[in-house]
Symmetry: C2
Subunit: 424 residues, 2 copies
């Protein structure tokens, strides 16, 4: 057969079984959702168990498994030209504390399924192919997302990554050493020939229409802020409004103002979320003395993002003045927007069309390893829809077997074009 | 001497020593305030230790100590006419979890100091005098404030009170039985001749001027609501604003609207506080699925309070519509405004003036036992200023020895007039 035979398909059932089996590692029963979820925080024993399951499959598929200094795994399938840079596919298998079984895993197991399919059909590519598993993509344990791929791409220094701590004070470095995961591959890694990642959308855009494939234009800029508001505790029944310094009211004013900024349309496609708020002392009859507030800003346009950040700072100063509180603001994460090259977008779109799948271009709302590896080589992403408005970071996260197979079929053909014919 | 000798004064030092000694029972070190506070939740071992200390002092002062069915203590000093209804003074000694040493204790130990002073001077009154300690005034353990005095006055049924549980599921009844506090005095109690309570203001009105005595007009109406907002969790980076059902934004909109209602002046002297807010899952990059919000409304005017409650309900419906969340509202406490009779206000004002103390009429922002006992007999209250804007429910709560003595000197002379001369 020729490698550009468009009738070539992955084994959708095998992919689904692998997702299912990996989903049982770190499983827990979620009382709120009423079903099983996944809890596989990076470099915990559950994550290690997941890594061992998947690397076992990788070795069984004939791949050579290596690990870099920060625990990223690269499983290599030889090409006809082993001096050529590899085509890399992958994602992550670490999870948030209340996860589903698709986020990240589809990219890793989909990469493995591409290799298995090539093996089944005796296809050799010109370039080697590497399936990557990146460490701590979620940031759920050590507080910085895309940690492993950022080290691989050189954005974050290895020592800085190793020094990061979890909430119990355990460092990334000590966990890597404990599990023997600080491997021989140097970071930053050598640039791949190209990088492709298939992922669930984690949003509602594809789920609301009939579109089967999302062609990802790039990753939005992300800014995370932590605001600490300090007012004064006071008796709710005995303190006139004019004498209050109400930290909770200040938090509410900022939350409402952020929503108005988004609705105004003046900041392009800005998204703003106050996800976390903790009042102190948090009692019914005490005016809040303190409020901790997190702000998550996203924007595909870096200039519009900068304007939003500046105007938020002005809003904070106005709220301080109006309510008499003091507010300190700290940036806890900040990544610029990433635009994937046209060549990679076009490649994904072409193969989706060849396979008869409808597609839509969209920007990723979430950060992804592809956004980091884009610094090393032409990179791109394939999104597939999730049910329930694409709910994610939740045990209810669900993509159908058909949707998963769609994405990995597109990945297969795109990888074949990138890696080139070796045995025709 | 005559009992209306205006030169009669309490022993300010003895009062202060008693406050100090009781303040050491249930003391803990408060990390946030950097000083010692009091933690004497109702019917805990610390509360019992406090009761034993004070009833020991009561007995040493010659008082006959009895207890009613709900553990309220009445310490009786005989009068010339023991068939006459007693003049009652008192308050409570239970505390919130992070308390100072004045809230409630000044009223109880001040009542004891009045008796000690009468003893020192060999004064007999016509009416007996009773010093009362009411159970669970704070509501901090069993969730309903003024519980003991409400049972004494008949507003709350004994069985309902005994069935109330703390956060661990322990009932009032089992705690009363464990400590042997379910006494022989029937509830509702027989009406006293009159009731007077001296208390720290717990607010900033007196602390901002030179006024030494607050003449309490009455107690505001209090309504407590618990709002449960249910939206939908969503990825902060991938969910457009129009597809969100943001429980945290709904909470912020209600908080801001309540503040606007107060500022409008359309609801009289309305106070509104959102003291407690708990988002779920409370993570930086997840749109809040749920938010629990408490609302504390106060108003000296019952009609204006009713309008505020109705308009809040409208606001809640509007926020539901605007944000797509659903909100359930539950009333967790509701007491009408209490106006103390003119005779009692005039009595306090007259004796403050006789003693050369400046006074100011004000409405109590907090609920008090006097608001309950007012259903049984003419009742009144004397407020004294606290430092630091009258901060209370906090280890920083502080009234000076002079301010405490002022209030109890007024109490002494007012009690003497109410109880009548017995030995002139």
């Amino acid at each position: 057969m020729t490698i550009h035979d468009s009738s070539l398909r992955i084994d959708a059932e095998r992919l689904w079984r692998s997702l299912d089996e990996l989903g049982s590692v770190g499983a827990y029963f979620d009382e709120d959702a009423g079903l099983h979820g996944v809890r596989r925080l990076a470099l915990t024993d559950a994550d290690i168990a997941g890594r061992e399951l998947v690397t076992g499959w990788m070795r069984a598929a004939g791949l050579a498994v290596t690990t870099d200094r920060v625990g990223n795994i690269y499983a290599r399938r030889a090409g006809a030209d082993n001096a050529a840079a590899p085509v890399m596919v992958g994602s992550h298998i670490d999870s948030v504390a209340t996860a589903g079984r698709f986020d990240g895993c589809l990219g890793v197991l989909g990469g493995l399924e591409v290799v298995r399919t090539l093996n089944d059909h005796g296809i050799t590519t010109e370039h080697p192919i590497e399936v990557a598993i990146f460490t701590e993509e979620e940031g759920a344990r050590f507080g910085t997302d895309m940690l492993g791929s950022a080290v691989a791409a050189g954005r974050i220094d290895l020592d800085a990554a190793r020094a990061r701590t979890d909430s119990a004070g355990v460092t990334v470095g000590s966990e890597l050493d404990r599990h023997g995961l600080a491997g021989a591959v140097e970071v930053p890694i050598r640039s791949p020939h190209a990088y492709l990642e298939c992922h669930i959308e984690q949003g509602p855009i594809l789920s609301t229409g009939d579109t089967r494939i999302g062609v990802v234009q790039g990753v939005q800029a992300i800014t995370w802020l932590e605001l600490r508001i300090t007012g004064r505790a006071a008796h709710a029944g005995a303190t006139p409004q004019r004498l209050r310094r109400n930290a909770g009211l200040a938090a509410a004013l900022i939350t409402v103002r952020l929503d108005e900024m988004v609705e105004s349309g003046e900041y392009g496609l800005l998204l703003a979320t106050v996800g976390r708020q903790v009042n102190y002392p948090n009692l019914i009859n005490i005016v809040p003395e303190k409020s901790l507030l997190t702000v998550d800003l996203r924007n595909p346009d870096g200039a519009a993002m900068a304007r939003a950040e500046a105007d938020l700072a002005t809003c904070i100063a106005e709220v301080e003045k109006a309510t008499g509180v003091t507010i300190t603001s700290r940036v806890t994460a900040k990544t610029p927007p990433v635009a994937f090259p046209d060549s990679m977008r076009d490649l994904v779109e072409k193969h989706a069309s060849n396979l008869g799948m409808s597609c839509e271009r969209l920007t990723s709302g979430a950060g992804h390893d592809a956004g980091e590896i884009a610094a090393l080589c032409p990179s791109g992403m394939i999104f597939v829809p999730g049910l329930y408005d694409g709910i994610s970071h939740n045990p209810r996260e669900y993509s159908t077997p058909e949707a998963c197979a769609d994405g990995i079929d597109v990945l297969l053909h795109a990888v074949l074009e990138l890696a080139g014919s070796g045995n025709e």
